[in-house]
């Protein structure tokens, strides 16, 4: 019998095989939460606050309850008797916040739920929600983070302050660095604006309380359900095991669906009140824009930079104010997560950041793509570019003088993080080649001679992945989290099919495909013979407390777990096959025969197909000798990252396992008639170590690039002074579309990580490289106008206003060279 009839590659990992998921997704066969219909299902609609800040005087649901088809209502006051406030991650005083899933006696952001109506159809629920009468007493809204920090108006009076967290991160010797500096530059303020993600699928959940088994069932698109359950179960007075969460296809999360657990809680309470009927909540786009989650807004104040005579940055001293919106929810983790990338890509040794996080009357933030790191990375890129221009050093040269060098990896940062691998000069070289650097430099010279606003910008960034949850103890020493882990299972089912499940919650990242590539290599079979369970299910028992999909980690944590489970399965199969074939394990080889996947004795026609092995393990067990009966061909593996708990006092330790890097170059011209910034050319180079599937990686680079360009030039969660969100629709928020995305010249280099089994590094968030590159390009274009790009959001209107103010002398000087050496 021929035993290798099926052609295969030596390594499936590294190939751009087509995504398994796409076969169903592009044919409309995906199963999203809103596709699920259940007998007796009811629909919930939230009554939301029009005010950003107001006392609730009364809620009257009586008229709504009279509408035919309305089953019941819930109010904030009512649910205080049914649920406890959610656990707060932060220490005192922020742990005094009473975070219920609906407002009880005060609303704190526009769009906060104050009541809910449960009805037989979404339309009836929507109509009846308009009949709920809520009396408010408006309060002054606190919209600005810096004003919030003055505590003039408190959002949570029991907290006694609006400051959620404050801490100073100090490394090296700042004072000595400034004393020895050739140049010192002061930057008064920089501001990272508030933007979010616009997943194709909004938040959605179905909850059903089953009185017969006293369990709560969720079908959800929450992207970190294991932390969701840890928050939900105690609040609902349930044991963890009473809560089952399933996900299936998810139309994007980008991190912000981690924080939809409050709505999950209300649906659960509604199901209980509606005698166990399944309750569906399907968020509208406007709800999503106003009240799901936004990214963190951050202001950088009083920045001092010390540089040596060559422009090498010796020290940075700055004060950062982070605005987390009305409730901390996943915060204050952002107060430490930025420090995963403390020196960015540079050999910065001395650094002091006074970091403060405040609550404001705006939508709560969630861990939006690039969470907390991209804000800090944008800040340091702006610092670098501003200093380069002040010292008349070209932006590329400035970077080369400051980059961590390839030979310095693994590189330990001043706060103890270990950058695993990288080659930033190599990325810059490749990006220049891709974009045609010299040609654009010549065009820039010509354009500037013609007084055109033409600029070239470089953005280097990091995508730190597989985080050490021990960093949570830096913001709260009592936090019960540390390390990182993931679980997976691999089995031969009764008919010999390979089934793999993992605790991730894919939202479009192609996990089914990459998992099958890894297992295919282990078993020497093609990926289509590996069946990967879709979505997440607590009942599969392949998750840990860290399981989920977030923080650019699947290639490391997820695939490490899959690799472990696959190898355990292979070992068991080998033992059982050796018995069945009466050969030694050393003589066996895995492959595909005419009857499908099999194990054979090398050089012979003796083979056993997978179905034969599965039969021995599952059905024909009496023939198996006693010593082999523990073999189940159903193997679970838990991968644990090799972390230690950081030194909480010194704020020192390894906070992340891998560091992907990205380098983008943008060429931009601002139209002098319309002020519209137009991208003329764009290059993106990615290094995520060993690439599992190049097509998927390139796709994610394109996605992150689009997201960043949109944020840099179009998307802004704008509020008026009363806390009305002014960009609550796509018409106003103007999310980026395919029409607005330039042709991205993509390149990649591979510096394999020594910290993962495969050399892969987590990727996908992208580190906000387009924000850095575009701010730099706009800066380059407007430098001669005397304008500093100090905000991460720049569209035609803001550029017009900035230039107008500059010409009127209304622009406050933002940068001062305090000391200029020779």
């Amino acid at each position: 019998m021929a035993t290798t009839s099926h052609p295969r590659s030596a390594d499936w990992v590294g190939q751009s095989i087509k995504r398994k998921e796409d076969a169903r997704l592009v044919r409309g066969k995906g199963k999203f939460v809103d596709d699920i219909k259940m007998l007796g299902m009811l629909h919930i609609v939230f009554v939301r606050s029009p005010y950003a800040h107001a006392n609730i005087i009364g809620v009257d649901t009586s008229e709504a309850e009279k509408l035919p088809g309305v089953v019941c209502t819930l109010t904030g006051q009512e649910i205080t008797k049914l649920i406890d406030p959610f656990f707060e991650i932060g220490p005192a005083p922020s742990n005094r916040i009473l975070d219920y899933p609906m407002a009880v006696d005060r609303v704190r952001y526009q769009g906060e739920p104050v009541a809910a109506v449960i009805a037989e159809s979404p339309a009836i629920a929507e109509d009846s929600a308009e009949l709920v009468r809520v009396d408010y007493e408006p309060l002054e809204a606190v919209i600005d983070g810096e004003i919030a920090a003055t505590d003039q108006t408190l959002l949570h009076p029991q907290m006694g302050t609006n400051i959620v967290w404050n801490g100073v991160y100090e490394y090296g010797d700042i004072n000595q660095a400034f004393a020895e500096a050739a140049h010192t530059i002061h930057i008064d303020h920089l501001h990272m604006h508030r933007f979010s993600s616009t997943p194709l699928e909004n938040n959605a959940v179905i909850a059903q309380w089953d009185d017969s088994d006293e369990r709560l069932y969720f079908w959800s698109n929450n992207s970190f359900p294991t932390i969701g359950i840890q928050l939900l179960a105690p609040a609902l007075h349930l044991r963890m095991d009473q809560v089952r969460v399933q996900t299936h296809d998810i139309g994007g999360s980008f991190g912000i669906k981690i924080t939809n657990y409050p709505q999950m809680a209300v649906c659960a309470l509604a199901s209980r009140k509606a005698n166990g009927a399944p309750i569906k909540w399907s968020e509208t786009r406007s709800e999503h824009m106003t009240s799901s989650a936004h990214g963190n807004e951050r202001t950088f104040r009083d920045t001092r930079v010390a540089l040596d005579k060559n422009g090498v940055i010796l020290a940075v001293d700055s004060r950062h104010i982070d605005d987390c919106g009305a409730y901390p929810r996943y915060e204050p983790l952002g107060c430490v997560i930025w420090s995963q990338v403390t020196p960015a890509t540079y050999r910065l040794k001395n650094l002091r950041i006074d970091f403060t996080q405040v609550v404001t009357n705006k939508c709560p933030v969630g861990p939006n793509r690039g969470y907390s790191r991209l804000q800090h990375l944008w800040f340091l890129e702006r610092v670098l570019d501003i200093c380069a221009r002040e010292l008349n050093i070209p932006a590329d040269e400035m970077r080369l003088r400051n980059y961590i060098r390839p030979e310095e990896f693994p590189y330990t940062t001043p706060n103890g993080c270990v950058y695993d691998s990288g080659n930033y000069p190599g990325m810059l070289k490749l990006a220049k080649e891709l974009i045609g650097w010299e040609r654009w430099r010549a065009e820039r010279t010509k354009a500037q001679q013609e007084s055109r606003w033409f600029g070239i910008g470089i953005g280097t960034t990091l995508d730190s992945g597989t985080n050490n949850f021990g960093q949570s103890q830096i913001v709260n020493p009592q936090a019960p989290f540390s390390g990182n882990s993931q679980a997976a299972s691999a089995k031969l089912d009764i008919y010999g099919e390979v089934i793999v499940a993992v605790g991730s919650v894919p939202q479009g990242q192609g996990h089914e495909t990459t998992v099958s590539q890894v297992v295919a290599d282990i078993l020497n079979i093609p990926p289509e013979m590996v069946n990967v369970r879709v979505g997440f299910d607590t009942e599969r028992n392949v998750h840990t407390g860290h399981s989920g999909t977030y923080a650019s980690q699947f290639a490391v944590s997820g695939l490490s777990a899959v690799n472990g489970a696959g190898r355990l399965l292979k070992a068991e199969m080998s033992k059982l096959a050796a018995f069945a074939l009466q050969a030694s394990e050393d003589e066996l080889e895995f492959g595909v025969g005419k009857q499908g996947p099999e194990i054979r004795v090398r050089g012979t026609e003796k083979a056993i197909p997978y179905i034969g092995l599965a039969n021995l393990a599952n059905v024909n067990t009496a023939v198996v000798p006693e010593e082999l009966r523990p073999l189940t061909l159903n193997c679970r593996y838990t991968w644990r990252a090799p972390f230690r708990v950081p030194d909480v006092e010194k704020k020192y330790g390894n906070l992340t396992l891998t560091y992907s890097s990205q380098l983008h170059i943008a060429v931009i011209e601002i139209d002098k008639e319309t002020y519209i910034p137009k991208i003329l050319d764009y290059a993106a180079v990615d290094d995520c170590g060993t690439v599992i599937n190049p097509m998927i990686v390139e796709g994610q680079v394109h996605g992150a690039t689009a997201h960043g360009i949109g944020a840099a030039l179009m998307e802004n969660c704008a509020y008026d002074e009363n806390g009305n969100m002014l960009t609550a629709t796509f018409s106003d928020y103007t999310p980026i579309t395919a029409v607005n995305i330039p042709n991205v010249k993509y390149g990649n280099i591979e510096t394999p990580s020594p910290h993962s089994y495969s050399g892969a590094k987590g990727m996908g968030e992208g580190g906000g490289a387009p924000l850095h590159a575009i701010s730099a390009a706009l800066q380059d274009a407007l430098w001669k106008e005397g304008i500093i790009i100090d905000d991460s959001h720049n569209n035609a209107s803001t550029l017009y206003e900035t230039i107008r103010k500059k010409r009127r002398g209304e622009l406050k000087q933002n940068v001062q060279v305090a000391k200029r050496g020779s």
């Binding site: 005010y51 809520v134 360009i709 179009m714 106003d732 569209n795 803001t798």
Partner: protein, 219 residues
């Protein structure tokens, strides 16, 4: 989102007559734009129902009003709060009356606050809509007060004073309009102002009359 407005006009009626009109909710309230109905709770408290609509967002607003200040015959002040299509609306409007040789000069000022869906989804359209509705209210007031009491119901007197341009100064003028500004799409809305960068865009108070010309009725 707050819209401030002010202006003045003259009426041939005397100060007492004007005060009596303006301080009587039964006479004043029906002049509100898109008035539907009203109910009086007492002499100074009443609820009016008016139609509201901006684009596709349409519904009724029920506003609880109060004649909060009545200093005969110099001043009448109303304030109110209500809800409409998932939004809250606050209104305050004051009238200061000065006798003139020909009748009474009415100086009026007020503020409308809009919170919620209307402000979020139609924020950019609210300012001109507010202007239009204020203009309607003042025109109605002026019409009702345009004749001496003795000849009310007859043809308007030839010497009736024209409506003076009410001034509107939206408090949020500094918030930049969120026009689409894609990276490289030429067909997107233009930023405000001339291409030279010189500022010729309107600043400060705006003449309402300019915004209610026939071609500007967009809502």
């Amino acid at each position: 989102m707050a819209i401030n407005f002010s202006g003045e006009f003259t009426t041939p009626r005397n100060q007492d007559e004007v005060f009596e009109f303006l301080s009587d909710p039964n006479k004043f309230a029906p002049l509100l734009p898109d008035f539907q109905s009203m109910s009086m709770q007492d002499a100074t408290h009443f609820t009016v129902k008016v139609k509201v609509g901006v684009g596709n967002i349409r519904g009724s607003a029920e506003i609880k009003m109060e004649l909060s200040e009545a200093v005969k015959p110099q001043r009448a002040q109303y304030k109110g709060q209500g809800s409409a299509v998932g939004s809250q609306v606050t209104v305050s409007a004051g009238f200061d009356l000065l006798p003139t040789p020909d009748g009474t000069r009415v100086a009026w000022q007020g503020e409308t606050g809009v919170f919620g869906k209307l402000a979020s989804m139609a924020g950019g359209m609210l300012e001109p809509l507010g202007r239009k509705n204020i203009q309607k209210l003042i025109e109605g007031l002026q019409k009702a007060l345009s004749e001496p009491l003795a000849i009310a119901g007859g043809a308007p007197p030839q010497n009736a004073a024209p409506v003076e341009a009410p001034a509107v100064s939206p408090a949020n003028r500094e918030v930049p309009p969120e026009v689409a500004s894609p990276a490289h799409t030429e067909s997107q809305p233009q930023p405000p102002g001339p291409s030279t960068g010189d500022d010729s865009s309107p600043k400060g108070e705006t003449n309402v009359a300019q915004d209610v010309s026939p071609g500007s009725a967009r809502y």
